[in-house]
Structures are given as structure tokens and as C-alpha cells.
Symmetry: C2
Subunit: 307 residues, 2 copies
């Protein structure tokens, strides 16, 4: 029997290749929760009295985050926790995810708020995809959904009085985004896509408590905790370049364990080095919806005009 290198007693079931540690189930679960606590502390993500809205899609990452934050929140009686979900309107997919999200919220005693694209924009994502496909546009469903969901999350978080939005981006997401920014030559986006996004007027600050946890370990956490989550992928294909970058980083990590953390640390150093050099962003009010934007019309309204 291979023993857990943390407790030295129970049988190990999982080897963390990049560190050489071997874990029993109990010590593994604790290691994930400890990692999230230390990430929160490192980036000063929360105040003791924050009203935290967790962006819950119904997938493994967001539901694991909700479970972990619900646990941590018990130690902070003045803080409060909500779940917020955006219903993009993807028939046969999002409805199931929302039901699963609600079920988790109920079992945790966390209030759940939902806002749909249909309510906010007048269209479901399915409506939008039909129209963009008919128009022959080169834009993908993801490019619409990303912008519209981001705005919807901010709207819903503001409505429920949240002082922070916690999103479930994991280490893999962060590393992919960093490499994508480099591939796009968009290095000044690097400081704006960090673990704790600085406050900007009109935008609820965002934090990413899972940003230092490997995706596969978040998945393992969800399975071991018996969290029910939606396993089906979104029917609209993902972004081609991100998929290529994901595959390539996974291949590197497989051959050279620890690569993802090394890239993450490079991203941190580069973020720190260039944050003062990034062009200052001046936010205006969107002439259509009044929400903050760098242009005259926000990206969401701009996309909606072109449907």
C-alpha cells in the first residue's frame, strides 16, 4: 500500500506529479480547500464583510467553487454568499445546468438568482446564433456569448447588491488566456485578466479563487465531494485557437509536470512588470444602455445592433 505523504496513515489514491506528493482522499480534499484559502489571502480577494456573488454555470468548476466558498464563509459571519447564474438560452443544455445549479444552492442554503439573455437583451443565444449564421458573419457564438454574459453577470451582481463577483476560472484557464494574449500580441490585456481585477466605476470587482488550482484537480474535487454537475459540453463549438493552446499546454504538462505553474508564475511577473505601463482605461457611459465602456457604445450593445 502506498501511503498518503501528508497524513502518513491512509492509502494514497492520487499522485500530484509536479510536487511528488501522494494523497489520500481526505488530505487531497483539504489540500484543495487550503489552496483556495491561500489564493484568496495572497491576492486579498475578499473583505470580511463582502457580499459575494459566485458566478455559477452548473459545471464542475463553478459548483466546486460554490461548495468551497460556502465552507470558508462560515468563518466570516459578516460576509454573505449568493449564487448568480446567467441563462443564455441554449435549448437542451442550459436548462439542465440551471436545475443542477439550483439543486446545489438549495443543499448549501445559498440564495440563487438567475437572469436570462432573453430578459436582458430580448434574444436567447439560440436566437442570436440563428441570425449570425444566416447573415454569414464570421463571428462565433462564443464571441457573442462571452461579451453578453460578462455584461449580464455585472448587471445581475449589481442588482443583488454584490460587492464582489467570484468566477471559477482555474489555473488552466488563466494560463491559456495568458498564452492567448501573447499569441494575439495583446500584452496590455495581461494585467486586466489577473486573479483579482481592480475596481472600476460601475463594474463589480471580480476575483478568481480557483486560479491557482489545476483544472483536473478541481474536477477530482467535484467527483470526490459527490457534487452533481453538468458534464455535457456546450453545443456551440469552443474557440479554435484556445482549444489548440489548451491541447498544447496539456501535452507540455504531461511531458514536463509543473509547466502550468511555471507559466502562471511568468504571467504574474509580467503582469507586475507591465501594469504601470498599460494604457490607462477611461470608462464612459454607453450611449445606449448607460453601462461603463471604453468606447461610446459598449461591446454588448454594439454586437446586439449587428444581429
Amino acid at each position: 500500500m502506498v501511503k498518503c505523504t501528508v497524513c502518513g496513515v491512509r492509502e494514497a489514491f492520487y499522485a500530484r506529479r509536479y510536487s511528488g506528493e501522494k494523497f489520500c482522499v481526505k488530505c487531497f480534499l483539504e489540500s484543495i480547500e487550503d489552496k483556495v484559502r491561500s489564493t484568496i489571502a495572497k491576492y486579498n480577494m475578499f473583505r470580511f464583510d463582502d457580499r459575494i456573488a459566485v458566478a455559477v454555470s452548473g459545471g464542475k468548476d463553478s459548483l466546486s467553487l460554490l461548495h468551497i466558498l460556502a465552507k470558508i464563509e462560515r468563518d466570516f459571519p459578516k460576509a454573505s454568499l449568493y449564487a448568480i447564474t446567467i441563462d443564455e438560452g441554449i435549448a437542451g443544455y442550459r436548462d439542465e445546468a440551471i436545475e443542477i445549479a439550483s439543486e446545489n444552492c438549495e443543499s448549501l442554503g445559498v440564495k440563487h438568482f438567475i437572469l436570462s439573455f432573453k430578459e436582458l437583451y430580448g434574444y436567447t443565444l439560440d436566437d442570436i446564433v440563428k441570425r449570425i449564421r444566416a447573415s454569414g458573419s464570421k463571428l462565433t457564438p462564443c464571441s457573442y456569448c462571452g461579451v453578453l454574459r460578462r455584461k449580464a453577470l455585472n448587471t445581475l451582481a449589481t442588482k443583488v447588491g454584490a460587492t464582489k463577483i467570484a468566477t471559477a476560472h482555474n489555473l488552466d484557464d488563466e494560463v491559456q488566456t495568458f498564452i492567448l494574449n501573447i499569441i494575439h500580441g495583446d500584452i496590455f490585456r495581461i494585467p486586466r485578466t489577473g486573479p483579482a481585477f481592480d475596481e472600476e466605476p460601475g463594474l463589480v470587482p471580480r476575483v478568481k479563487p480557483l486560479c491557482e488550482t489545476l483544472e483536473k484537480e478541481v474536477t477530482l474535487y467535484a467527483y470526490l465531494r459527490g457534487i452533481r454537475f453538468q458534464e455535457n459540453p456546450c453545443p456551440y463549438a469552443g474557440e479554435a485557437l484556445r482549444n489548440d493552446v489548451r491541447n498544447m499546454i496539456n501535452r507540455l504538462e504531461e511531458k514536463h509536470p509543473g509547466t502550468k505553474y511555471k507559466i502562471y508564475r511568468s504571467a504574474e511577473k509580467i503582469r507586475e512588470a507591465i501594469k504601470d505601463r498599460s494604457p490607462k482605461i477611461i470608462l464612459n457611459q454607453c450611449k445606449i444602455c448607460g453601462e461603463p465602456t471604453v468606447s461610446e457604445i459598449c461591446q454588448a450593445c454594439n454586437l446586439l445592433q449587428n444581429i
Copy 2:
């Protein structure tokens, strides 16, 4: 017939995917030479009276560089050009490369200087590899060869009175090195691996005039100019991680033409942003050989001690 988009007259034989240009042979060759001229100007690589030592291995990159610089040098009567070659001592490989290098130098009327590992260090690379393999060391032949060749190049360049060393690193090499530095978390190496390496006492400044030219276009240049070069790869296997990174970047470029240039531009911006933040390097004299080093003993002497 598809016409060359530059001259509009001759038949195109090559499409540059990232720019959409199509080239006839003549315009393609000129485009490469113009690119090298503009890279030299952009980074102020040379003075009008430099004594330039081109590091020539005998491969496609270094011989193309030698041919292009020989052409450019004709416009600078006070400048002079030499070829310098390090003979690592790799039986059945390097000897052929040196013969090819000498032949090219002769046809161009460029003086050729050679220094061997055996003369400088007392061992050929073959000797060293035998010893490290026998000792069970995890170090690869490349890790020895890289350090020892770098020092040997500096020694030989100093001996021939060169004021610059021109190496034939191409765009692919530069982009791979940048990504490798990120993967290693070594971001402060990024400013020290740029196109024009700042002067440091005791080290001949290095420049990389091909650093903005795609590897495949350098290869094409060599073939079209009828340059004879060594085509066999080095018998000692390359570095595993660099090979993985090379393959992954090539795959991305294939799917998304222009990716390499975008990564290159990100590297430039990051280099610019962090160069003042890099720890200042203080060079000492190696206690064994007297050459400049950041430690007490230079890397080369350190490796040689452990053979």
C-alpha cells in the same frame, strides 16, 4: 499564371500566408535581403566601421546570413566581415560542415577562422559525451555544447579583433526561446536574449540579423541562391522541451498564419517593459580561466570540472 504581387510581371512561386503576398523568385530573394537590412537598422546592430564576425556552423541559417551580410557589407567600405566557426569535435558531422563553410567563405572572399573544443578545452564534444554518459549524468550533450560553444565563440571573436558577433538565430529560434523562458519562469532572461545583446565588459556584443525572418523563408533563400549547406542534423538529440515547443508553435502557425510574428511582437513589448526591472548583472573574472562570469567560476569551467 499567378503573378508576383510585388513586380506584377513574373510568375509567383511562393505565397507568404501571413501577409497574403505572392512572390516570384527574384522578388522573394530581395524581400529577404530587405528584411535583414531593416532588422539591422531597427536595432542599430552595426556601426559603419564594425569588424563583424559571423558565427558560421555550416547550416542553412548561418550560411544564408553570411551571404546576405557579404552583400550588404559592400556598401560599407570601412566595415569588415569574417567567418568564425567552432569545431566541437563531432565525428562524421562537424568535419563535413566545416568543409562546406570554408567552401562558402572562399567563394565569397571572406576570411574563415576556426577554433576547436579540443584546442580550447582539451576535449572534443565526443569525448565529453562519452564521459557524461558513462557517469550517468542527466545533463544532455546540448547543455554542455551550448555553454562551451558560446564561450569559444567569444574567445575566437576576441582573438580576431571582432567588434560584433553576428549569429544566425531566426524568428522561429527567437520565438521558441521566448516561450521557453516563459515556461521556465525565467522572465528576466527575456531582455538578455534579444536581437541585439547589450555590451558587457569582456564579451563581444552579439546581434541577430535574421531574427525577424521565418526559418522556412531562410531555408528557401538558401535553396534558391544555390548555397551549399549541411543538411544532416546533429547526431546528438536536441533538447526535448524545445522540440515540443517548436512543434506546437509550428502547428499554431499552420492553423493561424502570423502567430509567430505576433508572439515575436509580444516578446518585444515584454522585453521593453521589463528590461529596467531585470536584476543588474555584475560580471566577475572566472577564477580558472579569467573570462567574465556572474559567479566565481564561469559556467564552462564549472561544466569542465565535472566531466
